[in-house]
Symmetry: C2
Subunit: 639 residues, 2 copies
């Protein structure tokens, strides 16, 4: 990539030093390695996570892994899939437990491609990333740790961060310089401590939990489901796993206990006995215990994610919470993804350094929502519901079940826990009426796409090979903004498309201003970034596939992305009467279309009408001008 | 497996000797290795197919590969997927070629799970099987060849076949004894020649074709589609491939040429020049040629597939034809699968040896259909259609396109080429009114399942974990008959299910008579073959998942298969008004259900009503009695 610094392979200079090879560090490393950055990645463990730890991949994260081409490697391990959650409580009369309801873990209103949680041992997930990293010549240096760092932009403006590293046994040391340092070392982050960034604890209520992975023999009917079980004898959460395993979270102590001690512990046998009592009248015996751990639930959030926009934190270093909602790894992935593409946009030369200031507010607000959710969820989970709520929840109908506080909280949280609820607030990237881009073409009436939210899923037919594909997956995670030209009917939008292409090719447009310098050397097989490394364009016609002729219906600039031209001709149950279901799902006019700009991480940036003349590109120039290094198009003259 | 011979690891005694490690040999070997048989598998090539050869996996074959757990390994190579075929012909007026129509390669009326052809280099497909074989301790011995064999049941009734093998360079020889010998060595089969089995050639018309795999640069718009192109300058078929490659089949000579010579050949350059002329006005240049070959199309079928039911033939040894319809490998797979499970049923002790006599008629009739199809298809493809048919086909509507003889033949053949059209005729396995089983409960009115045809696809919800699954894939290729108990409404069928289970457990039933002898040693995690190695039972209720309680709604025998209990509660577009879509698709009563017996290879054997009393099991006993070693139930007293 022309816009990136030459790799200095024999020097101690790196684009980034990443500390910690858990989910957050690995996601960051994997993205940046693919995009050509030079990475020093260390971890103080001598090998990846052997057992236990996080294991829930939420629907949105599975989309992301697929977008990176890593989903099939994950699924090859045959993970368990959680489609529903069952609630068990004491019966109104009598002893033991009864099922009081079940609920889809990712209900159909979310319209997820993969409406289930994927459960797989964290070590296997880590290895999928490590293997991808190695393909990009990046190897985790183990077992190494960080001993110090400092940032001085004056001393070395290009590589302002100096980092001191050493082998954990003290036999070797290294000092390297980097543009960035990332602390992804988990809750006890050295980087965070050195920066003297505090943790704000959200909730005084505390619980001590035991977690046990193993193979059991039981007549409990929902052992392959995710279950929350409350009984007279305590509470358990059941999580199915790969290879006939099951994970049990068992409450050992609560701050509401008269003799509460957050350091209370319990042996494997004690926890197993406790599980047996809670599950009565069902029996449970362990054939094998793979992993067992006891921990207090601490809920905290880092006050800052960065001080100088050179040294960043992410993942558990920024937010700790109960693992039971399965959010830790997923939040870590999205922290890293958010930072990765912004570093790429800045270091690649597209965006002002100020873009990096959007990382903390975007991700901290998600962490706050997570803690708020976790807090309510954990509190409910640890509190035996009253006989009344149990009775209300015992009804078979959904409406009756709604009366149970616990279940209602759970339902409200489905969108959040699936990962589809992540909503980034208005800023330069996520258009709102307060954005500096004021074109009246922005956010046309009727659009169902919400800026700062994930793009809506849709099936379309690829024109060149008639393959039926998932539109939202067609542009891989290549660090580029995704420009979806919903082109309506070719007979209606012909001139608008020509004008769009003509204005794009203007050197003052966002597109023309950031062309590749190696244009003539690009292979004709490259249909993702033929003109610019920062933009990939897909065109979707409201037409039958067989009626679309790329060379006739698209101007040359758009036709260059010929593998990314689609016919919106697949029926969709969500919009059964639409002739162009993808247009309809996005809320765009089925004849006139519209242009959707999606950030490299899949969140909608801005939507504009597709019109004849320069208006559409002008509107996008205004949008991009708010964070690009060059001022663009008409916006330039206004500034 | 108790019913199988102990493996004699140090002896020259094998269950089977397989000659040839192409698709047919590998499929046979893979099945039998998984089921515990001892295999000597040789191939005269020193490594798997390096380039070229067959590469089309049809929809039904992809189902099969998935059923074997091999689909994801195939798809990991990112094969091309053909959803549509485009037809190009000379325009009515003027020169060059125009697209005269397109047609789905697997139209929606077929209801395939994967309505596309998967295109991948044969060597990659072979390696997927080889890797699976190695997991089952079976290794191909290369490069070795067969030099002779003889069968003598009197001399050695247990291992009647003696086979002589040698290293291709003559440095080593081996003589081994086996129960079976399989010749899967391709068109020039040594085994077939030794048996003096002739080939019947179906059609005197002959063509010489060149086939070229490579990477091209072209402005031909359908280069990523499957295309048949007729022009004034000759004919081409275009087949997309993985890694931006394309395969071109180019006609070099035809018996209708005045100077026809079946040994005519052409250089790479000549074929490329010919392709350039045919594709005018489009341009085409080769960046790389991976493989090139010239061959005459010979259409022939072996007169016999076996003489003694000890030495068998399959794959190209039995049928040769044009490769253009992409049927060779798929037919080979199904030859092998058909034989594999029958050998297992006989050697495992379930079926009379006479079962093996069904192999030849079942598979030879499929080969005859294939040659008939290939003959018509190749003839049409090699003949430039008249201006009239081109004109008729030029119309956009399907009905007009029907008037083109070529397109009509193609459309009629879609079901056949997808693999879903394979129909085995009536015999002991495929019930018909002529079958010895005469129970009036068999083949209840309304059933849409056709004996000898593949089971119909359906989505259902698995009760234990609420996963939405593909019912037809839930029982893997484990060599067992699949007993699908469509159980209707629990409130209606309660007694019928109890009676069904009670009669199954009778020692004289097909199920009770073939129980495992190691019953007490079976792991409680085994939900496929807990009682018998020859039968796996799945139960599907016409009910919402949350309303099904396995321990309450199923008798103990059926509940033992708890991972194979389903709720028929998913909506299906094919039967939009059904409350129980799977029942409805099968044509079974949504309240009373019915029992479907599917052969181990996925073809429907018999369907019976589910009734109170012994009638249902009696009917199945009659069915199974026609080929099992023991006479069963009521049938026993009648014989």
């Amino acid at each position: 990539m022309e816009t990136q610094p030459a790799k200095k392979l024999d020097s101690p200079y790196y684009d980034i030093v990443i500390v910690g090879a858990g989910p957050v560090g690995l996601m960051l490393s994997t993205c940046l390695a693919r995009w050509g950055y030079r990475i020093k990645h260390i971890d103080n463990r001598s090998e990846p996570t052997p057992t236990g730890r996080a294991d829930g991949i939420q629907p949105r994260s599975l989309d992301l892994l697929r977008n990176m081409g890593l989903k099939s490697a994950i699924m090859a391990h045959k993970p368990a899939r959680v489609y529903e959650v069952a609630f068990w409580d004491p019966p109104k009369n009598g002893n033991g437990i009864v099922r009081t309801g079940t609920w889809a873990s990712c209900p159909s209103f979310i319209d997820a491609r993969y409406p289930f949680t994927t459960l797989l041992h964290q070590g296997l997930i880590e290895r999928v990333f490590i293997s991808d990293l190695e393909k990009n010549n990046t190897k985790i240096q183990r077992p190494w740790t960080i001993t110090g760092f400092k940032t001085d932009e004056k001393e070395n403006p290009e590589y302002p961060v100096e980092v001191n590293l050493k082998h954990v046994d003290g036999t070797a040391e290294e000092t390297v310089r980097a543009k960035y340092l990332f602390g992804g070392e988990g809750a006890r982050s050295f980087v965070r401590e050195q920066l003297k960034i505090g943790i704000t604890h959200k909730d005084p209520i505390a619980h001590v939990w035991g977690v046990m992975d193993g193979v059991v023999k039981t007549d409990f009917p929902d052992i392959k489901m995710k279950c929350t079980i409350h009984s007279e004898h305590g509470s358990i959460m059941v999580i199915p796993r790969e290879d006939n395993m099951v994970r049990l979270y068992i409450q050992i102590a609560s701050s509401t206990d008269p003799d509460f001690n957050p350091r209370k512990t319990a042996t494997t046998e004690e926890v197993q006995e406790s599980a047996k009592r809670i599950l009565q009248p069902y029996s449970i015996e362990w054939e094998r215990v793979e992993w067992y751990s006891v921990y207090p639930i601490g809920q905290g959030i880092s006050d800052k994610y960065t001080l100088d926009h050179r040294v960043f934190l992410g993942g558990d270093a920024c937010h700790t919470h109960s693992p039971k909602a399965g959010q830790g790894m997923n939040t870590a992935f999205l922290d890293a993804l958010n930072l990765a593409w912004k570093i790429h946009a800045v270091e690649g030369g597209l965006a002002d350094r100020a873009l990096l200031t959007t990382y903390e507010p975007e991700r901290k607000s998600v962490a706050e929502s997570l803690l708020d959710f976790d807090n309510r969820y954990a509190k409910l989970f640890s509190t035996k519901p009253s006989a009344d709520t149990v009775e209300a929840a015992s009804g078979q109908s959904k409406d009756q079940a709604d009366d149970n506080d616990f279940i209602r909280t759970f339902k409200e949280s489905c969108e959040f826990t699936s990962g589809y609820g992540v909503a980034y607030g208005p800023n330069s990237l996520n258009w709102s009426p307060e954005h500096s881009a004021k074109s009246p073409l922005i956010h046309p009436k009727g659009t169902k796409l919400r800026t700062g939210r994930i793009m809506i899923n849709a099936n379309v037919t690829r024109v060149v090979d008639a393959n039926v594909v998932h539109l939202e997956q067609e542009i891989p995670l290549n660090g580029s903004f995704r420009i979806y030209v919903f082109a309506g009917k070719p007979s209606v939008t012909g001139q608008a498309l020509k004008d769009f292409a003509k204005n794009l090719s203007d050197k003052r447009s966002f597109y023309g201003a950031y062309q590749r310098s190696d244009l003539s050397a690009v292979s004709h097989h490259d249909h993702l970034n033929p003109h610019s490394l920062f933009f990939t364009i897909a065109t979707i016609f409201s037409a039958k596939r067989s009626s679309v002729e790329i060379s006739r219906d698209l101007p040359e600039l758009l036709a260059r992305y010929r593998d990314l031209v689609y016919a919106d001709d697949k029926w969709d149950r969500q919009v059964p009467n639409a002739t162009a279901a993808a247009h309809a799902k996005m809320g765009l006019d089925e004849e006139k279309g519209g242009v959707v700009v999606v950030r490299p991480d899949g969140y909608v940036g801005v939507v504009a009408s597709l019109v004849e003349g320069s208006g559409t590109v002008d509107a996008l120039n205004e949008y991009f001008s708010s964070f690009t290094t060059k001022k663009l198009g008409e916006a330039r003259s206004q500034l």
